[in-house]
Each structure stands twice: as structure tokens, then as C-alpha cells.
């Protein structure tokens, strides 16, 4: 039956017109089981009223600003968000469902053969093509300012600087100059083998990044320990090295036509996934003070549209589970960024070093990327999402460094509903970036030449920027209190989260080889396992779109009435 292959138009035509009624498209009973259509009994209740009771007329657009979006689409999005927040009590559930919704098959794979996840544009921190700043500004809705906020200059750090500086210089030298590398005896002399420069460069980059991570960690930890006596919150911060940062968001196409990576809920949106690793990350349990009011004119600055498609900037698609990871898994408690540092050793490697002129814009787009992604994931952990904008601005302090060169940035996240069209979004996110500075020029005879205090000053100001210890607003307004939930439900939530937590992410190379055992991906299988194990909770609380294939089947079997029941349900009354 080559003509009637599942992808052919002939099949559609056949199914629409010619085939047995049972197999026709749009015929209820093939795709969505509807149970039995019962005959209406004749003894109808008396439902007549004196005045007709009409349901209230729905306004054209749901609450909120929707711009030029089609009103049906707007209602669809609105209801999606409502559903998401009504049925899912915890953030962990929401994160899992977000990953699940990107899988290609919702239902049983009756006529859907393609069961892997959808295509997503994969982004990481380092921009891969020149002049890509407008693009990254557009996809993150960010306005970039080329100097740091003024209030940092008011912080007086001179006395602290005098104390910390010699300590830090000693420690940098210990790492950079004094420490010897352990070279295995076999590698101590040239064996005459053929050396490939790209492999050697790659290794060198790995080593450099490791060094950068070590030096930055050491510096940050030292500063924090110096301050720990006076600032007790610093001792309680969560510090991680080489922590993964991942974030997913969907972006409105604003009338562009994309042939791929469209988000399946709305063909006018596409989605992005950010993946990178922060060299050092410091997190606290309290938010940083906002820098500008989200209603101020700076935040109303429109971000120009960038009409080029992502491949123009060497951004390509892959299959991946949409994940939100601001450095650690949900539930840790330290949910707010204090400082994130990224190693920028790779900016001079590969093809990403375009020019001296392009260096600063590249670093700016790096900053925009990382700041947005990290705060976006953080917002999801706090219970906000594309459907519920953050109720207060989230702040990240960022540093890019390759030990010698440093660049500072501050990011304020005001909005994350990028799926709305451009004219619906009035506020934009703001990123402040400092110029690129040298911490020192070189190391000679165990001394740092031309040590630059300004960098240290700025770093100290970042760390001394104290979070609001007792915020007078609810930090997580959309997260329900789970303490009264019964034990089984709590267990369910935790188990469900482990499905995304400990699984290998879906990616293209994963699919090519390891794909589809037992007719699905690993993720789908585990999801089905968990929903089945806790099917009582799922049946009671979730809408059926999220049941997953196994639960679909179980549910359908349960609803199919037996013949006996059938007779009882439809008594012969006449």
C-alpha cells in the first residue's frame, strides 16, 4: 500500500471521503474515545424558565494584554495557563508537565508514529556569529545599557579592599603561578606521535576553563569568608562550581514564517532552550533589591524586532526535553541569584573571536543570554511562568571572566511572557553591562603586573549588595502550600519530578541510536510508569491531556460499559 502511506495526501483524501465510516477522520471514536452515545430518554425534566438564562457573554479577549494576537488563540493560551495553574499544585509537577507537553504524542500512538520530542532552537551562552546582539536582544526581549547602575558607585568598599587585596593576590598567584601540574610520566617527553592541533586546542581549552573555575571559586569563597563574620547571610549562601543552567521559553514569531521548531500549541510561536554551565554560582534564599521600577520609562524601552531566522546566527535545532534549571534542582531553598560567573575562555577559541570590535557586543549578548536564562529558570522555580508574569523584578549579577579579563553585568527580569506578540508586551528586561577590563596584564617572576583595583571594587560591591532580608511581599504567590497535602500526593510529586531529573535528556544523537524501545522514548515510558503508579491522583486531579498513553488506555477500558450495564443504563421505557 505504497500510495496510502501515512504521509501521503492520498491517505488523507482516502480517509476523508472513501474509506469505511469507522476510519474516517473527525469521526469520534477513533481518535478520542467518547464512550457510548446514549439515547435521550423521553421523560425530560422540566427545565423551562420564565426568563431565558444565557451564559454570560465572553469578552473578546481574556484578561491581560494580548496585542494583535488572534482572540481565539488568546483564549486558548489563557485557558492553557489556567489549566496549568488549576490542576498542578506544585512546581515540580509543572516542570514535568512542561517537559511532557513537548513530546510529540499526547495520546496513544494510534496514528502518530512520530513519538519523539519536538524541535527546539538550542542556545548557549557564547554567541556563535558576529553581530548577533540584536537577535539575542530580540529573543529575550532585553534592552541593553552599556554601563552599570549608578547605585554601585555609592557603596564604599575602600577599607575592605585594602584588607582583601593582598589576600586575593596571594591566592591568585598560588593558583596561577605556584601550583604545578601533575603530568604523568608517559607524557613527559615527545613520543613522536602525530598531533592534531584542533584536539590539542580543545584540551587546552578544557584545562583553561578548569583553571578559571578554580581561580574564580577561590576568589569568591575568600571574599565571602572575609565578610562572613559581619554578613551572616553570606555564610549560608549556596556556592556551586560548574553548575548547569538550563531554561526553556517560547517566543512569538511576530508574523515571521518558520518552517520548523514551532510550538505545537500555537504555530505562531517557536521555542528556545538554553544550556550552559556557570563556573561559579552564589545563591541566597532572599531576593536582591530591584534596580529600576518595572513601570519606569527605561523598562518601557521597546526592543527592536530582529527578522532574521536563528540559523543566520548559527543557532540550530535539536530534540530536547524542555528543562528549567537555575543551577540546582527544585526544592533546595536557595532560589535567588546573588552572583554568577561564567568562564569566557572559549570566546577566543573556535570561530567566536570575530574581531576586536566585535568582542564587546559578543560579550554583551553572552551576558544577555545567561542572565535571561538563569532568571527565567529561577522564575519558574518561584512559581511564575509564561502565563503568570513575575510579580516583582528578579535580579542577577553576572561576571564573565577568563581570569585576566573581566566584564560585569546586571540583569533585571521584568517579563517572561515572550509567547505574546510584540505589541502586547510593553515592559522589557534590562541588562547593564560594564566595559571589559583587565585584572592584571601578565604574571612576571611570581608577581601580578598592573593589578587593577577597580575590578576588585566592583566584585566586592556585587557581593556586598545585600538581599532584602525580610521582604514584605509574597515571594511565591502562585505556589500553593503543600504541607497539608497527603503523604501519597507528596510521594507522587517527588516521583514525577525524578522522571525529568535523572533521565538522560532527549537529544538528537540520543535518538539516533538509543531510540524507541518498547515503542516510546525512555522519558515517555517513565512518565507512563509514574502516572500509572499514582493513577488515582492523576485521575482525580489532572485533565486527560496529561494522562499519558498508558493511563489513556486504562481510563478508556474503565469507561467502556459492559453489555449488562448497557442494558441498565438504557432501560426500555416505552
Amino acid at each position: 500500500m505504497v500510495i496510502l502511506h501515512r504521509t501521503s495526501n492520498a491517505l488523507k483524501w482516502y480517509r476523508l471521503t472513501l474509506c469505511r465510516y469507522k476510519y474516517r477522520l473527525n469521526h469520534p471514536g477513533v481518535h478520542i474515545p467518547h464512550g457510548v452515545q446514549y439515547q435521550t430518554p423521553y421523560n425530560l425534566p422540566d427545565e423551562y424558565a420564565d426568563h431565558p438564562l444565557y451564559p454570560p457573554i465572553r469578552p473578546k479577549y481574556p484578561p491581560g494584554s494580548w496585542g494583535s494576537m488572534d482572540s481565539k488563540k488568546a483564549w486558548m493560551h489563557f485557558e492553557l495557563g489556567e489549566k496549568y495553574y488549576r490542576h498542578l499544585k506544585s512546581v515540580k509537577e509543572r516542570l514535568t508537565i512542561m517537559a511532557y507537553q513537548n513530546m510529540m504524542c499526547y495520546y496513544d500512538k494510534l496514528d502518530v508514529e512520530q513519538i519523539d520530542s519536538k524541535l527546539i532552537w538550542m542556545v548557549n551562552g557564547r554567541p556563535r556569529s558576529p553581530r548577533s546582539l540584536p537577535f539575542y536582544k530580540h529573543i529575550t526581549r532585553t534592552h541593553v545599557t552599556d554601563e552599570l547602575p549608578k547605585f554601585y558607585e555609592q557603596m564604599d568598599v575602600e577599607s575592605l579592599l585594602n584588607y582583601v587585596k593582598p589576600v586575593l593576590i596571594e591566592r591568585i598567584l598560588a593558583n596561577e603561578y605556584a601550583q604545578k601540574d601533575d603530568i604523568p610520566l608517559e607524557d613527559m617527553y615527545d613520543k613522536g606521535d602525530y598531533k592534531i592541533s584542533s584536539i590539542i586546542n580543545e584540551k587546552q581549552l578544557k584545562i583553561d576553563q578548569q583553571r578559571t573555575t578554580n581561580v574564580l571559586t577561590n576568589m569568591i569563597r575568600t571574599i565571602i569568608n572575609v565578610l562572613a563574620e559581619h554578613k551572616p547571610y553570606l555564610r549560608k549562601t549556596l556556592i556551586g562550581s560548574d553548575v548547569p543552567i538550563e531554561a526553556w521559553w517560547s517566543l512569538n514569531l511576530n508574523g515571521e514564517k518558520y518552517d520548523r521548531a514551532k510550538w505545537h500549541h500555537d504555530q505562531n510561536t517557536t521555542s528556545f532552550q538554553f544550556r550552559d554551565k556557570a563556573a561559579v554560582q552564589v545563591k541566597t534564599s532572599r531576593p536582591l533589591r530591584s534596580i529600576v521600577d518595572p513601570n519606569s520609562s527605561l523598562c518601557q524601552t521597546p526592543v527592536p524586532l530582529c527578522s532574521y531566522h536563528p540559523p543566520a546566527f548559527k543557532v540550530f535545532t535539536d530534540r530536547y526535553l524542555p528543562m528549567q534549571i537555575p543551577g540546582h534542582w527544585h526544592g533546595e531553598g536557595h532560589d535567588f541569584n546573588l552572583l554568577s560567573m561564567y568562564s569566557m575562555d572559549s570566546i577566543y577559541k573556535y570561530d567566536s573571536y570575530f574581531n576586536e570590535d566585535e568582542l564587546l557586543p559578543s560579550l554583551m549578548s553572552w551576558m544577555v543570554n545567561t542572565g535571561h536564562a538563569e532568571l527565567l529558570a529561577q522564575a519558574y522555580y518561584l512559581g511564575f511562568s509564561m502565563w503568570r508574569e513575575p510579580t516583582y523584578p528578579l535580579i542577577a549579577q553576572l561576571v564573565l571572566s577568563n581570569r585576566r579579563q573581566w566584564i560585569f553585568g546586571v540583569y533585571q527580569l521584568n517579563t517572561i511572557g515572550h509567547f505574546k506578540p510584540h505589541d502586547a508586551q510593553i515592559t522589557s528586561n534590562i541588562c547593564w553591562v560594564s566595559p571589559l577590563m583587565n585584572l592584571y596584564d601578565r604574571i612576571e617572576n611570581g608577581e601580578l603586573i598592573n593589578f587593577n583595583d577597580n575590578i576588585l571594587r566592583q566584585l566586592l560591591r556585587f557581593i556586598l549588595n545585600e538581599p532584602i532580608m525580610e521582604p514584605n511581599w509574597n515571594l511565591t504567590p502562585y505556589v500553593e502550600d503543600l504541607t497539608n497535602l497527603d503523604e501519597r500526593y507528596k510521594k507522587f510529586i517527588r516521583n514525577l519530578y525524578e522522571v525529568v531529573k535523572l533521565e538522560k535528556q532527549d537529544s538528537r544523537d540520543h535518538h539516533r541510536w538509543a531510540k524507541i524501545s518498547h515503542d516510546t522514548t525512555v522519558f515517555n515510558r517513565r512518565y507512563a510508569m509514574m502516572t500509572t503508579l499514582f493513577k488515582d491522583i492523576v485521575f482525580d486531579n489532572w485533565p486527560r491531556e496529561w494522562y499519558g498513553r498508558t493511563l489513556e488506555k486504562i481510563e478508556r477500558k474503565k469507561n467502556m460499559p459492559l453489555f449488562k450495564e448497557y442494558d441498565l443504563l438504557m432501560p426500555v421505557t416505552r
Binding site: 601533575d182 610520566l185 571559586t217 569568608n225 572575609v226 562572613a228 549556596l238 553548575v243
Partner: protein, 462 residues
């Protein structure tokens, strides 16, 4: 008479088309017309440097005589086919002198006793009195909560996803287990250890000396010493080494009436002491292990490829640095891969080696006027061993020299209880997710371990 090619042209309609024969025809008759550079006449007169695009120097052309030709068999893809260079050709190969090698994999079958025999050391199975007295005296606010949060961070909340090594089931060799992704154990350990070290350092507000310490990672260490005519070479990559700008003061000052008189300073007598000659009496009672007829070096392999001299792992700078604590982070897959005794023996050997190097640098003439003290900490998953080593002599050749080194051992400290094995298949807890849940729910934390850790860390501060 027309040539064959011309004939072919004539009979064209009657011949077979050249489809498949084309390869043959091209081989036999094919000609490649090399395009020639023709200059337009207008350009001929001018003195222009002409670049011929069709006859560029070929980048793939074979190199001339001056560049050495590298055999294509040395491509990294085929490197496994190349026989390894004989060890004798290594520039560090010592043809005339072989040593007994002790590296991080060597096991001493008689354990601590054998290590003590090799290093002329007397063991005491407790922490020194001077350190015991300081236990729990200094503490950090919420230190136990913080350590528990580090444990949780390392095992459950760190978002690293890496391919973990496959599980095994020793009784069912053919059984295979699912691939698991999670936090590798080395990362788990480094998260806990680094957090603990830096948490101790946050006392720097009270003890500014702590900021003069340095932490080195993955540095080389080797040294050689002669024991009754046999050369013993110690070699290891030290995972973490903490150095300080003042050497640790010795635990036991008055070793004999004859020797070492530096402990007269009253301050030092207060900080560390040997009440009533306690350790001296114990040391006199100690009998070294009698291994006869076996040599104590039986477990060490003979090695000719080694580096001469001493290596501490860092370059000397203006101010001196002394080893304070060595952290041995084990990479054993299983906690039972080696016994506690073997691990302690290894620690004693390497700590002794470090002390030896330091003593040689301090007293180049070979006369030790003040004992050298070094601490070391072993760490595997949740298991800690603590060791304090005091080097009292540099003489290992002379049988008449009765001076011995001392080591204080505090072993088997578990930071938390009953961590299930994640390497072997464990029917109850055998997956990463179970480990995470286990840690989140039923962590039984042991606060005394960090107290010891902190006490050792704070040795030598004023």
C-alpha cells in the same frame, strides 16, 4: 585509415553508448588538458605581479625534504596499533639504580604495622591529647545544618547529569542494568569537602592567619628515601593540600633528654604538650612488627622509571609555605575495595613522605632540630580517617638510632550513617533516585566528625 576513435565517431549510431565503459575509456584514452595561463596583450607590458588562480601552490602537495615526514600510521585513530616505546628509552629511566615504588595503588598486606616498620613510626590509635582538648571548643553558628545542607547539595540537589558507571551484580555476571545519569561520586565528594574546608575558613574573622593559607588541588608529589640500603620511592597525585605560612608545632616536644630542645618556649608548651610523658611511655612499650623472614618491602614493586629529588607540588615564592593538611580523596569504587588498615597504611606512608620533604627543605644539612608535624585526612563518600604525623628523625639507615616518628590515628569516622552502595546492585536502594530520597529523608548526621575536622583545621592558628 581512420583511427579507432574516429571510427567510433563514424559508427556512433551503431555502437554501444559509453555508459559503463566510460571508466575504462577515461583510463585508456583520457587526457586532462591543463589550462594555460594566457595573458591579455594589454597586460603584458605592464609590470604586474600576476597571480595564477589555476596554478596555485597546492596545499596538499607532499612536503619538501626539510619537513619531517610523519607516518600516517601515527594518526591518533591508529595510535593503538603503534607499539609503546620501550620503557628503557624513557629519559627518566634509571638503568643503574632501581627503587621500591610506593604509589597510591600499593597495598601493604600487614597494613599500619608494616607502614610503621617502613617509616620507623610508632602509632597511637587516638587523636593527640592536645587536639582532643580543643574538640568542640570553637564552633560556627549552624555548623551542623550547613554541613547537612552540603550533603544534600552534593547528593540530591546538584543538577549535574553525567553518565554514571554501569552497575554490576557479582552473583549474576551477565545481568545488565539501566544506564543511569546523575552526579558522579568524585563530584559529590569534592562538593562536600570543598564546602567543609571553606566553611572552616570562614572563621577567618577571628583568626586572620587562615587567610594566609593556600589550598592546592591535584598537585604532584614524589620523594625518595633510603631505608637500610634500600631506596623507597613515594609517588602520588595529591588531591588537596592545605598549606600554611607557619609550620605546625610538634605534638610531643621533649623526646629525649639528648635531643631536640626547641620546645622550651612557654607558649608552645601550653598549646601542645605531652602530659606526664604519656606518649613517651607508650612509645617505649611499642614493639615493631616482626615480619621475618619476609622483607617489609615485599608489597612494593621494583621500579626503574622514576623522578629523582623531592616534589611538593608548588613553586617556592618569597614567603615560605609549609604543608598543614593533606586531603586524600579516594577514588575507590567501593568502600570495601581496600580495608581501613590498608588505607591508613597508605596515608601514613604519604604523610611521612611529605614530612620528609619538608624536613629536608628546612634542614638541608640533615640534622633535624625540631620535629615536623603534618596532618592528613582521608575522605571517601562519607568516611573520614584523621591522621597526625610527627617526624622526629631523618635517619633510616642506622639500626642503633632509637629515635622514632609518631603517628596519631583516628579512623572510621562516618559523616552520616548507612549510605547504601550505589556501585553494586542493591535490591533495596540500588538506584540513584533511591540514594537521593534516602539522603533527603533519613539522613542520620554525625556532628562529631566535623568537630574533629574543624579542630584539625584550626591547629596552628593564634
Amino acid at each position: 585509415m581512420p583511427k579507432i576513435t574516429e571510427l567510433r565517431g563514424l559508427f556512433k549510431p551503431f555502437t554501444k553508448p559509453l555508459h559503463r565503459q566510460w571508466k575504462w575509456v577515461w583510463q585508456e584514452k583520457g587526457k586532462f588538458n591543463e589550462p594555460k595561463l594566457t595573458l591579455p596583450k594589454a597586460l603584458e607590458d605592464r609590470q604586474i605581479n600576476i597571480i595564477d588562480p589555476l596554478h596555485e601552490p597546492d596545499p596538499n602537495a607532499l612536503p619538501d625534504e626539510s619537513t619531517p615526514w610523519i607516518s600516517p600510521t601515527r594518526h591518533p585513530m591508529f595510535e593503538y596499533l603503534v607499539p609503546p616505546l620501550p620503557r628503557e628509552q624513557h629519559p627518566l629511566f634509571h638503568h643503574d639504580r632501581s627503587v621500591f615504588l610506593f604509589d597510591s595503588k600499593t597495598r601493604l598486606h600487614a597494613g599500619v604495622d608494616q607502614a610503621c616498620l617502613l617509616t620507623k613510626t610508632i602509632p597511637f590509635y587516638e587523636l593527640p591529647q592536645s587536639i582532643k582538648q580543643t574538640l568542640g571548643q570553637v564552633s560556627l553558628p549552624d555548623q551542623d545544618d550547613l554541613i547537612q545542607s552540603y550533603i544534600r547539595q552534593s547528593i540530591a540537589y546538584d543538577a549535574t547529569k553525567e553518565h554514571l558507571p554501569r552497575k554490576k551484580s557479582p552473583l549474576k555476571q551477565r545481568r545488565s542494568f539501566r544506564i543511569e545519569y546523575g552526579i558522579p561520586r568524585s563530584r559529590q565528594m569534592s562538593i562536600v569537602l570543598e564546602n567543609m574546608i571553606y566553611l572552616c575558613e570562614s572563621l577567618g574573622g577571628h583568626y586572620p592567619d587562615l587567610f594566609k593559607r593556600h589550598l592546592y588541588r591535584n598537585i604532584p608529589f614524589y620523594t625518595t628515601y633510603e631505608r637500610y640500603g634500600e631506596l623507597i620511592h613515594l609517588r602520588k597525585q595529591n588531591e588537596y593540600v592545605l598549606t600554611s605560612h607557619i609550620p605546625l608545632s610538634p605534638i610531643v616536644k621533649r623526646l629525649d633528654k639528648l635531643e631536640i630542645t626547641s620546645g622550651n618556649n612557654t607558649n608552645e608548651q601550653i598549646t601542645s604538650h605531652d602530659p606526664n610523658g604519656h606518649y613517651l611511655i607508650q612509645a617505649n612499650d611499642y614493639q615493631f612488627l616482626d615480619m621475618y623472614p619476609i622483607y617489609p618491602t615485599i608489597d612494593l614493586s621494583l621500579e626503574q622509571l622514576y623522578q629523582d629529588g623531592d616534589e611538593q607540588g608548588w613553586k617556592q615564592r618569597k614567603s615560605n609555605e609549609y604543608v598543614h593538611t593533606i586531603f586524600h580523596v579516594s577514588n575507590d569504587e567501593l568502600i570495601h575495595e581496600a580495608t581501613a588498615d590498608e588505607r591508613l597504611a597508605r596515608m601514613i606512608m604519604f604523610t611521612f613522605g611529605s614530612a620528609l620533604v619538608q624536613a629536608r627543605q628546612l634542614y638541608p644539612n640533615g640534622i633535624l632540630t625540631k620535629p615536623v608535624t603534618i596532618q592528613s585526612i582521608f575522605f571517601l563518600d562519607e568516611l573520614f580517617h584523621f591522621i597526625v604525623f610527627q617526624l622526629n628523625t631523618l635517619n633510616y639507615n642506622d639500626t642503633n638510632d632509637k629515635q622514632c616518628n609518631y603517628v596519631w590515628i583516628d579512623k572510621d569516622n562516618y559523616l552520616y550513617d548507612n549510605r547504601p552502595s550505589m556501585v553494586m546492585h542493591n535490591p533495596v536502594y540500588g538506584t540513584e533516585r533511591n540514594l537521593q530520597r534516602y539522603v533527603l529523608e533519613k539522613l542520620i548526621y554525625n556532628p562529631s566528625v566535623f568537630q574533629k575536622f574543624l579542630a584539625l583545621y584550626l591547629q596552628g592558628v593564634k
